[in-house]
């Protein structure tokens, strides 16, 4: 009887805690959406911001966030997966790899503002990249690489040894075994890691303040030449992202509708992150199904 009572209490406590977390989460999202949704309109999503007048939008910032996400992932995913494959499949278990692993761990717990300053010193100043999307993407890569490496490494280590041996025993080369048999199996876990990393890119502000910058030049959305300084695709132009924009108007916004803009932008940010999450998961499942022929 006593054990059963204890069991009930424990179950109750756990359910209570889970409910509390759910409540906070739902409350937070509901609050942000409630405050922001009324402000979202086609005009708000597409027009440039105003510094002193009311009625400014977040068009360039939204574009910047999405574009920076793409640039960052273009660098982070191949690097992270490559390094993860190396750490899990090729690196010998010695002191050097143990040290690399330690560095990766430490790097992943760095505060993002420190990464931002590192980006300022190295990419912006040392490499003369100025405040630019490229510098921002590199800083975010530094920020996300440890996560990607660790996730890939763990996902590959999670593939049963027999799968790898089955590939090798068929006379497949090591790389073919990894790329065609192990990576598809590790794909769901790697995808989860990628979504986490992408979410961090979207929400990150501190690391971008001094790398991608806090301004956006006048953009000509009809100009798709990536080398032109007014083209939105130019990776070497400064770019204020949505998260940075929210931070900026909250701290120094002079437009009369600054609070509403911040609220609307926050809601947009959350919606995009949610959409991205669900979309990526759906796509991932579809790809995984195709790989594995499961229904």
């Amino acid at each position: 009887m006593k054990a059963r009572a204890a069991d009930r209490v424990a179950t109750g406590v756990i359910i209570g805690m889970a409910s509390l977390i759910m409540l906070v989460l739902v409350g937070l999202i509901a609050y942000l959406l409630f405050r922001g949704l009324s402000h979202i309109s086609w005009h708000f999503l597409t027009s440039p911001p105003q510094s002193i007048k009311a009625g400014g939008g977040i068009g360039p910032q939204l574009f910047n966030s999405l574009y920076l996400l793409i640039l960052t992932m273009l660098i982070t995913i191949p690097l992270g997966i490559g390094a993860g494959i190396y750490m899990s499949q090729y690196a010998k278990a010695n002191q050097l790899t143990a040290f690399i692993r330690l560095v990766v761990e430490v790097l992943s717990s760095f505060p993002s503002i420190v990464i931002g300053l590192f980006g300022l010193l190295v990419f912006v100043n040392l490499f003369h990249m100025k405040y630019s999307l490229a510098a921002g993407a590199l800083a975010l890569t530094v920020f996300n690489l440890p996560l990607m490496v660790r996730v890939t490494e763990q996902a590959l280590n999670g593939v049963p040894r027999e799968q790898k041996e089955a590939g090798l025993a068929l006379g497949l080369s090591r790389w073919k075994t990894i790329s065609s048999i192990m990576l598809p199996m590790a794909f769901p876990a790697i995808l989860t890691g990628t979504i986490l990393a992408a979410g961090r890119v979207f929400g990150e502000a501190a690391a971008l303040l001094f790398t991608a910058g806090m301004t956006t030049p006048r953009l000509d959305f009809g100009n798709w030449n990536p080398l032109d300084s007014h083209s939105p695709l130019n990776p070497f132009r400064p770019a204020e992202t949505l998260a940075v924009h929210i931070w900026k108007i909250n701290s120094e916004g002079r437009a009369p509708d600054a609070p509403e803009i911040a609220a609307g932008a926050s809601a947009v940010l959350i919606i995009v992150v949610l959409l991205f999450n669900f979309g990526a998961r759906w796509l991932g499942r579809a790809i995984y199904r195709k790989f594995t022929a499961t229904k």
Binding site: E165, L168, G171
Partner: protein
């Protein structure tokens, strides 16, 4: 008496400092089944895994002595381990089909080794599945997931997968120990069929299975080869006292 498929001479395998196999010499006859029996940890699986250099995968594993297939020492630095493994199929204790369709599980190996023509691949898939008595059971769902098959079917699929790349030797590491009795009987029946085309080495902790399926039996104990002889002789009149005790179930 049949020809020799391959042989080992004074083969030792070490895991770090520990010697798992102690100078074992065995000659494997062509197109016969050789069974390895012995208590857990006696080295039988280690020995098997050294035959296609699968121990390379395990950090700290080291091999001494000779394993000669067609006259060549497979541990020679000039040996192309990828080609070697193509010639030696392997089947594991737990069925491990790739997480792909039934068709892809089999077509994958041959395609990698250069068979690009769709019709040829189809033929290989069908003949491999027929040889493993699986064709009639799966021909209507070749493009469905291999993981939807039963354990026994998965194991036969794994055997089909390994023979699709045309090996001459099949290594089986307790291929039926994770299966129910009916599936086990089917695997044993299959082994009897396959020995017409392949030289088979099977590790089994079930000595009755060794008795049923093999032509020759090797008894291992603590890394030593205690006795190696015709299975009939081993199970009716073994020369060694330890073998007698083990197969009579009076061991330890």
């Amino acid at each position: 008496m049949s020809d020799t498929a391959f042989y080992t001479k004074d083969l030792s395998v070490f895991y770090g400092e520990k010697q798992a196999i102690k100078k074992v010499s065995i000659t494997f006859p062509e197109r016969q089944v050789v069974a390895f029996i012995g208590p857990s940890g006696c080295g039988k699986s280690t020995f098997l895994r050294s035959l296609n250099r699968m121990n390379d995968v395990i950090p700290g594993a080291r091999v001494e002595g000779e394993i000669r297939i067609g006259g060549r020492d497979i541990n020679d630095p000039s040996t192309d381990v990828v080609r070697l493994r193509q010639k030696i199929g392997m089947v594991w204790q737990k069925p491990n089909p790739f997480h792909k369709s039934i068709y892809e599980n089999i077509a994958f190996g041959p395609r990698y080794h250069g068979v690009k023509d769709k019709r040829n691949l189809d033929e290989i898939v069908e003949s491999s599945l027929r040889k493993t008595a699986l064709w009639d059971e799966v021909k209507d769902r070749l493009h469905g997931s291999a993981l939807a098959l039963s354990g026994g079917q998965q194991q036969r699929l794994c055997i089909a997968r390994s023979i699709a790349v045309q090996p001459s030797i099949l290594l089986m590491d307790e291929p039926a120990s994770a299966l129910d009795p009916v599936s086990t009987a089917k695997i044993e029946e299959l082994i009897a069929e396959l020995k017409r085309d392949y030289s088979i080495v099977i590790v089994t902790h079930n000595m009755y299975q060794a008795a049923r399926v093999s032509d020759k039996t090797a008894f291992f104990l603590m890394g030593d080869l205690i006795e190696y002889d015709e299975t009939q002789k081993m199970f009716t009149n073994p020369s060694n006292r330890a073998t007698d005790d083990y197969i009579s179930g009076r061991f330890g």
